[in-house]
Every structure is written in structure tokens, then in C-alpha cells.
């Protein structure tokens, strides 16, 4: 789950103690939020659900590790976008709504492990019976 680019910058998803598990290998991380519903509680630990009148929001913390060879300190800009549309769901990373185009999430993400908040807004009228939510979020960091 780690990508090296030019042997100077690396990117990886890391599990957080208060967050759900992140699995996967190489450049692909997989976060399973489990079963969620408007009136119930989330089945997986580290996943929280809040409700509004017309939707509910599923929140999960996400850990990202940025490594920079030869540099103990520094920052990188973090961009993210959706590889496939997620309608009717809305996905936010650190309160930034993600779409099909890269969006700047954080301009100065510190080298090391940083904590981020992933939010998925699910309308109450999203689906028929049970529905599988699936989103693929691309991340890109650029050294400042």
C-alpha cells in the first residue's frame, strides 16, 4: 500500500487506532465501512453516523503517510478525486467535496502521518432495499 515515485516521495494509507481497518496492497487501499443505515448504528468500529432530516452522514477517519527520502521535514499538497461517479452519494475529504476532477484537499500536508476525515452523505431516499456503496478515490501528493 505504498508507492514510491522517483525514490523521493512515498504515499501510503495507514490504519488509525480510532478508525476502521484499511486493507489492501501496494497502491490500493480498501476501507470497508460495513453496514450503515439511517436509523441504526454502524456495524464497524471507528465508523460514526450522524443524521439530518433528508440524509445521514457516515464518517471515518483516514490516515495517510507521506514519506520523503532524505527529508525529515517538509510538506506536500494533497489532491483527491473520484475515479468513478458516486451519485447519489456525496463524498467529502476534510470537508472538500470530491468530484471527477482533482480537488486540492490540503496544500501543506506534513511529511509523516496525517489524519483526515472521510465523509459520505447518503440520502434517505438513496436506494431500494439493500444497496452496496462503492467508491474509488484517487489521491495524489506533490512535494512542495
Amino acid at each position: 500500500m505504498q508507492v514510491l515515485s522517483g525514490e523521493t516521495l512515498s504515499f501510503a494509507f495507514v490504519p488509525l487506532q480510532r478508525g476502521p481497518k484499511v486493507m489492501g496492497a501496494l497502491s490500493n487501499g480498501v476501507m470497508d465501512l460495513g453496514s450503515v443505515s439511517y436509523s441504526g448504528v454502524a456495524s464497524n468500529s471507528g465508523v460514526k453516523v450522524t443524521r439530518s432530516r433528508s440524509s445521514f452522514t457516515v464518517r471515518a477517519p483516514l490516515g495517510i503517510k507521506i514519506g520523503s527520502v532524505g527529508t525529515l521535514a517538509g510538506t506536500a499538497s494533497l489532491k483527491a478525486w473520484l475515479e468513478i461517479p458516486a451519485d447519489p452519494y456525496q463524498i467529502y475529504l476534510d470537508n472538500v467535496l470530491l468530484g471527477s476532477q482533482p480537488a486540492l484537499v490540503e496544500s501543506e500536508t506534513p511529511v509523516g502521518i496525517s489524519h483526515h476525515d472521510l465523509e459520505i452523505v447518503i440520502p434517505r431516499s438513496a436506494s431500494g432495499a439493500e444497496a452496496d456503496f462503492h467508491a474509488s478515490i484517487a489521491f495524489e501528493i506533490t512535494e512542495n
Binding site: 515515485s5 490500493n28 453496514s35 452496496d132 467508491a135 474509488s136 501528493i141
Partner: protein, 194 residues
């Protein structure tokens, strides 16, 4: 000739400078980047929310708008005037649990809302929290007796929405009771999507 000799070196310098810039990776290379992809999955399940409210012409309940409310019958009597919102169904009737009883009823509004589901209606059942061998409890209709061992169907096709479904709660008390202590029990209502 004089003008050429002065501009020629400048052009050479300019070309050399440009060549240096083009050949220098530090000058034009983009900052290092790295990337990753996170797949996020979840199963969105349909759900129902049940809330109690004071029914029209019913006693004022406490805990309105929540799923844990109290319906107060007040001081009920077999012969006389019932508290506001309470109706005397019968001053003396024969029921299995309490023998010869008087029966009162009070309405409560039960609202069930659906999220991420597509069912047209719901089934509402009720069950007593604690067994009562002296008093008679029913809901929906007077003949729909409640017990603590199994749930009784109150409605097979409840209507979703905040308007709510009015459900009558019946309480039968033995006429033979000389001193009536405070009577209370818990009724657990369960709504299940059809």
C-alpha cells in the same frame, strides 16, 4: 560591422544560457509526486424509525417525538368521569384475565418513517414488557390482547410518515378490585417493513 560585432556575442550567450536551462533537470522538472487509490465500500441498509406522539383527543404523553414515551391514563373509574383523553369502553365486561372488568382506552400516535427502503407499508406488533395476571391489556382493538410471551399484530399495513397512526391502548381492570394500586406496564411496539 560594428553593430554585428556587439550583438553576436549576446546571441551566443543567449543560446548557451537557453541550452543550460533545457539540459538542467533541476530547472524544469516537476516536483516529485506519488499517488494511491482508496476503495471505500459500505452496505446501505434500509431502516425504520418509530416515534410516539400525542394523538388527537388523546392524553398528553411524555417523551413525545421519541421512541420511549409514557401514556398516562390518570385516575380511571368504572363509573364516573374519566380523565381527558381517556374513554370508558365498558363498565363491566367479562375478560379472561381479569374476570369482570371495566375497560378504558386511550389513543396514542405512532409515526414510522422509512429510510433507504422501498416498502409500501409496515406491520406493527406489540408485546407487554411484564406479564400481568390481574389486568387486561390490548392495543389496536379491544380484542387484540397483549402478552409478555408473544407479540400481537396491531396493524398489518401501517402508513409511513410523520402524520402517524393512531393506536388505541386498552386497559381492563377487575371490578372486584377494592383498592386499586397504580397500574403500569411497558408495551414494546415493533414496526417491520412489509
Amino acid at each position: 560591422m560594428q553593430a554585428w560585432s556587439t550583438t553576436f556575442p549576446r546571441r551566443i550567450l543567449s543560446i548557451i544560457a537557453s541550452a543550460l536551462l533545457v539540459s538542467s533537470p533541476l530547472a524544469f522538472a516537476a516536483n516529485p509526486t506519488a499517488s494511491g487509490t482508496l476503495t471505500v465500500t459500505a452496505t446501505v441498509t434500509s431502516s425504520l424509525a418509530l416515534t410516539f406522539n400525542t394523538a388527537t383527543s388523546g392524553p398528553t404523553i411524555t417523551g413525545a417525538g421519541s421512541n420511549a414515551a409514557t401514556l398516562p391514563f390518570g385516575n380511571i373509574v368504572a363509573y364516573g368521569t374519566e380523565p381527558t383523553g381517556v374513554t370508558l369502553q365498558s363498565s363491566s365486561t367479562s375478560l379472561a384475565v381479569c374476570g369482570t372488568c371495566f375497560v378504558v382506552s386511550a389513543p396514542v400516535s405512532i409515526a414510522v418513517t422509512q429510510a433507504d427502503g422501498s416498502s409500501a407499508n409496515f406491520t406493527l406488533t406489540a408485546k407487554l414488557g411484564t406479564a400481568d395476571t390481574q389486568n387486561y391489556w390490548a392495543a389496536g382493538t379491544q380484542s387484540t390482547q397483549l402478552s409478555s410471551t408473544s407479540a400481537s399484530t396491531i396493524s398489518a399495513s401501517g402508513t409511513y410518515g410523520g402524520t402517524g397512526n393512531t393506536v388505541l391502548v386498552y386497559l381492563g381492570v377487575p371490578n372486584t378490585t377494592v383498592t386499586t394500586p397504580s397500574i403500569s406496564n411497558t408495551i414494546n411496539f415493533v414496526a417491520t417493513a412489509n
